[in-house]
């Protein structure tokens, strides 16, 4: 389905908004951690494709709740549909360059 111009604009806005949702364990956003694999908004529904750094991640509920709360706070989004994806699995290569620097400063090998 082709996205409308309004939907595309809202999707971009939603993606930027997720820069404020922080990973629970590190001062890096879920976007910079590379957890957001895609986001589309159509008819007020935000469809988020989300992954985690591991299948045993203890904070999955926490991260999903943070994403939902943030997106539902944006005008124009009335529902959030999160799909957990594992293909392809998260690796360190998914980290944004700035996130690598932050983690390195904390003594964590990115």
């Amino acid at each position: 389905m082709e996205q409308s111009a309004a939907g595309a604009a809202l999707g971009a806005q939603a993606y930027r908004a997720l820069e404020d949702v922080m990973d629970p364990e590190f001062p890096v956003s879920v976007v910079s951690m590379g957890l957001i694999r895609g986001i589309e908004v159509e008819d007020g529904v935000a469809k988020v494709r989300l992954t985690f750094t591991s299948m045993g991640c203890p904070w999955t509920d926490w991260i999903e709740r943070g994403i939902r709360e943030k997106l539902l706070g944006l005008g124009g989004i009335s529902a959030v549909d999160i799909e957990i994806v594992w293909d392809k699995p998260w690796t360190r290569q998914d980290l944004a360059p700035a996130a690598r620097i932050t983690l390195k400063k904390l003594g964590i090998s990115p």
């Binding site: 629970p24 364990e25 590190f26 045993g56 203890p58 509920d61 400063k105 904390l106 003594g107 964590i108």
Partner: protein, 306 residues
């Protein structure tokens, strides 16, 4: 070994200490004492976290609690690893000391009887522990420790947020709020006591910049967090803010008698600090079981690797 004058002069210029050769005996003694308290506090929180699982932690919180326990063990490892560099035998510290020789908060030894004890333990207890970390992280003159605490600090901050989530959720119903209040009634004075007796006029650990604040400042910092937060949930604490002094004032004699078996404070019965120290040294109801648990794990690990 350098002289105390040279060391204090260096510290007054804001310099950091990198190697044991740059310390005086006194500096080394105080640093090791603080590392032991920090390491013991992280390490002995783990049996308490493990005990939470007995009170019926909701399934969605089991993995988070295991992750927090793993964090705390990682933090303890940092503190003990530095102690090892300073000549301590860490295996002996962990597995051969008796309970009276450990130095960690008394409330870790209390039985956690219900979900409200768990929620408040995390929401209010973690903040107290985090303050100890921050007092070193922002001020400590021993560079290897200070560098290592960057990761510890952010993890402790997150544990507090997690604990707040548990308390916030519990406070949504009148029954939950009453449960939290029952826990706060016994746990809050223990957390106030956690920071120790009133500050001494001269504190050598502050003089050596091993930490930044004394016990009274730490206690006030704690109250500035805990009181408004608890009040925002509708919880009542025996404390009020003195506008003239710009500080919190306890509404009970400090210290006072604690009936350990019944988890009740007797505010009509002030005690001397030596009585508190005696209680701490005797350790609390769960201490023996927790120590056995630690030693059991050690023995089975050794047997498996023999």
């Amino acid at each position: 070994m350098i002289s105390a004058e040279v060391l204090k002069e260096r510290l007054s210029r804001g310099e950091l200490i990198e190697r044991p050769e740059e310390m005086t005996e006194e500096y080394r003694y105080e640093l090791k004492r603080m590392l032991l308290i920090a390491g013991d506090t992280e390490f002995r929180s783990v049996p308490m976290l493990h005990s939470y699982l007995r009170v019926g932690v909701p399934q969605r919180y089991v993995k988070p609690f295991l992750a927090i326990a793993q964090d705390e063990l990682g933090h303890a490892h940092i503190d003990y690893r530095i102690l090892e560099d300073l000549g301590e035998d860490v295996d002996a510290l962990l597995y051969e000391r008796e309970n009276s020789e450990w130095v960690y908060p008394y409330f870790f030894d209390m039985p956690m009887d219900n979900w409200y004890d768990v929620a408040v333990g995390e929401g209010l207890g973690e903040f107290a522990g985090g303050l100890l970390v921050r007092n070193v992280f922002h001020h400590c003159s021993y560079a290897p420790w200070r560098r290592a605490l960057a990761k510890v600090d952010i993890e402790e901050n997150f544990h507090v947020k997690f604990g707040q989530t548990l308390m916030n959720e519990a406070a949504q119903t009148p029954e939950g709020l009453a449960g939290l209040q029952r826990t706060v009634d016994w746990m809050f004075p223990l957390l106030v006591e956690f920071f120790g007796p009133p500050a001494k006029a001269a504190d050598v650990q502050i003089e050596y910049r091993l930490k930044g604040k004394g016990t009274d400042d730490m206690r006030q910092q704690y109250l500035h967090y805990a009181v408004p937060y608890c009040q925002s949930l509708g919880l009542k604490l025996p404390v009020h803010f003195d506008e003239a002094r710009k500080e919190y004032v306890l509404g009970f004699p400090f210290p006072c008698h604690f009936d350990v078996a019944n988890k009740r404070w007797d505010f009509a019965k002030p005690v001397e600090w030596r009585e508190v120290f005696a209680r701490w040294e005797k350790r609390g109801p769960m201490a023996e079981e927790h120590l056995k648990q630690i030693r059991r794990g050690w023995r089975s690990l050794r047997a498996a690797s023999a």
